[in-house]
Symmetry: C2
Subunit: 408 residues, 2 copies
């Protein structure tokens, strides 16, 4: 019998199953109200538009091309649409600044692969998107805390990274309605991160999958747009912007992108070539058609639904949460972050909550590289209707109240 | 301006553009007869079947599910079909032994990621599939030559790997109609590799994208089938079999698979989860439908076409190649491997050939990890019809004859 463990690379010891994805498998029971999965509501997908796009491509003269291998950088038609979308966000760029990826998760994997040697440092927020930690973990970096609210001296990060045997390669952050906190960085915080990255001569990874899902307030300019402004042109910037169609049109086609200086894009193209050759052309051509025709109207429709759910969840939290429980008020996205009174363990709470109240959420510890955050949890409002949100939060409030009381 | 080079990981220095894929971009000229691209003939894709499959899924009750995130191991329906296909090859397995990947290229990337630490050794054939070298390169291994025809003492490989600071993690090979040589390993050679791997306690990576394209002779049992037989059950084996739909039904959906012991599959699933979450469900569901209905008949049709092209190319080589030039006689697949007289550089020949004769091929050096093989080249017969093959090889024969003469 093969002793597999002895054959694995060192990095394999850092690969663990996502608590969230394992959870999702268990929650497929009709009587559980789940605020756990950070996924879009499938009822909202523009299935009809996709059906027509696939029929159009596969029934037309482009069928053979769509079923063949394609170029690693991505289909020109889709890259053109994405470049136009990015220009709409204040980033002057062309298709040469775009790499199409299999979801923005793949972009994070490739960015880790391109930049991180073992013992290098990645600056990340605490808590942060779990999938980013998982993607970067394969390249064995250290994680150091990035706090956009504080004026941290660069020299301190630099020294620590150097002592650990590497250097700071990038600052990773999700500036709009972040997963898991729902928080948005203001202009000053964004400028502070760019300035810190400048002092450290490192890159910035701007993960923006929720960017288009804003329900109130004015959009804040992307870090890449600010970077373009300061440095004069995209070719002079240090920011890699990761976008995604997963939260706007459909996650099922697995389509995302990186927008950055063409020099770094061309390196990422080499990585793409060696890792899966190319993202399916058929899906890219279908997405290009659907995005060209439906992006604006579909996103508007989606936002109206999610806004109502966010409002319902905020109202229900206000009504049903016991004293000492705090939560964020996201201006967009899919998530509300809850802080329980100290001493309450959200993972233990989940077991009680699913069993006694049939309500699910994600305990917050997994989002912290240092295993802190035991008293935090993530609620997603994207997949439950307003009625279920009110009922579910009421039930959750009772469970929390009981837990707090018995902990006293 | 950002100094990107100073930020890249050490592995980035090993990432180079594929000579072949760069070539392909230049060869899109109507008067060039290309034997360069190792890609299937797009005229043969079952577009109608795919059109119906996509319409069926997107017009039916499964649309929303197909457009949503999916499980990292792959859709159950497709894994069931694949497991059945593998059982047909003599490998007793179930869906738990299958990971669906974005083409078998992604399987190679994940296998490199799971097994290779820097300075570990991968045994590979010389020449070998360039894409495998590119995929593994990201994990900074050494390559050591694997010669299935020789009884090499394991202790020698082991000592060299150890001296280099790692160990032998796997033997990689493509046993059927290999890219680039077209050669097939016989039963004795396969058993020899399994036995070597046993002595080294390492894994075996069986890359079998062309397996179903046999035009003559009896199929040779896959290494995984032999391994199952010797070790009693798939759960006791050391072989990871990489399959692909790219050469049978379509490369455009980017669908391949790994078949192996469930213990190692579960590790690869974690890698998939962290690197791109999942392969598009929509494509997997479409492929399952097309494979269930059309695999056998479509592969039979494809084989008839490619067989005629292989026969035409072998006949044309016999007729037009000057003395001193040798080539393989593949029993299947897409490639014939040509050895030119010593001293002739195939890369230089390519320039002359494209310019003077409008015929293209791939110079063989890139397939050798040690940059040897300057006098070799790869011809692909999959994409040219019989008339073009005869005309192209006639033209190529003249160019080679002239080059040989002028080198004397």
């Amino acid at each position: 019998m093969t002793t597999w463990d002895s054959l694995y690379a060192r990095r394999a010891s850092r690969m663990r199953a996502s608590e969230i994805r394992e959870l999702l498998k268990l929650l497929d029971q009709p009587d559980v109200i789940s605020f756990a999965g950070g996924i879009p509501d499938p009822e909202l997908f523009p299935s009809e538009a996709f059906k027509n796009a696939y029929a159009d491509i596969l029934g037309g003269p482009e069928a053979a091309k769509a079923l063949q291998y394609g170029v690693s950088e991505g289909s020109l038609r889709l890259r053109r649409w994405i470049a136009g979308h990015m220009r709409g966000l204040g980033i002057d760029c062309g298709p040469e600044n775009i790499l199409v990826t299999s979801g923005s998760q793949q972009a994070l994997d490739y960015i880790g692969k391109l930049f991180l040697s073992a013992e290098d440092t990645a600056l990340v927020q605490w808590p942060t998107y779990l999938g980013a930690l998982q993607a970067f973990n394969a390249y064995e970096p250290r994680f150091e805390r990035l706090d956009p609210g504080a004026n941290r001296p660069a020299v301190d990060c630099e020294a620590k990274a150097h002592d650990a045997g590497g250097r700071v390669k990038f600052a990773y952050l999700s500036p709009d309605f972040a997963n898991p906190t729902g928080l948005t960085l203001d202009l000053e915080e964004r400028r502070r991160i760019l300035s810190l990255a400048g002092e450290l001569s490192c890159a910035v990874v701007e993960d923006a999958p929720y960017q288009c899902l804003r329900y109130e307030g004015d959009p804040v300019r992307p870090l890449l747009a600010l970077d373009c402004e300061t440095s004069g042109a995209i070719e002079n910037t240090r920011t890699l912007y990761c976008g995604s169609f997963s939260k706007s049109l459909s996650p099922g086609l697995r389509l995302g992108w990186v927008c950055a200086a063409s020099e770094v894009i061309s390196r990422l193209v080499l990585i793409k070539q060696a890792s899966d050759l190319n993202t399916p052309v058929l899906n890219q051509e279908a997405m290009a058609r659907v995005a060209e025709e439906h992006f604006e109207t579909h996103v508007a429709k989606t936002k109206a639904v999610y806004k109502a759910r966010r409002d319902a969840m905020l109202m229900a939290l206000e009504k049903h949460m016991p004293a000492g429980t705090r939560w964020t008020k996201p201006e967009g996205g899919m998530f509300i972050w809850v802080e329980l009174p100290d001493g309450i363990d959200a993972a233990e709470l989940l077991a009680t909550s699913v069993e006694a109240a049939r309500v699910a959420f994600v305990p917050g510890r997994a989002f912290h590289p240092d295993d802190s955050g035991a008293n935090t949890l993530r609620l997603s409002f994207s997949c439950a209707d307003v009625g279920k949100i009110e009922a579910g939060i009421a039930r959750l409030g009772k469970v929390i109240a009981r837990t707090v009381t018995s902990a006293l």
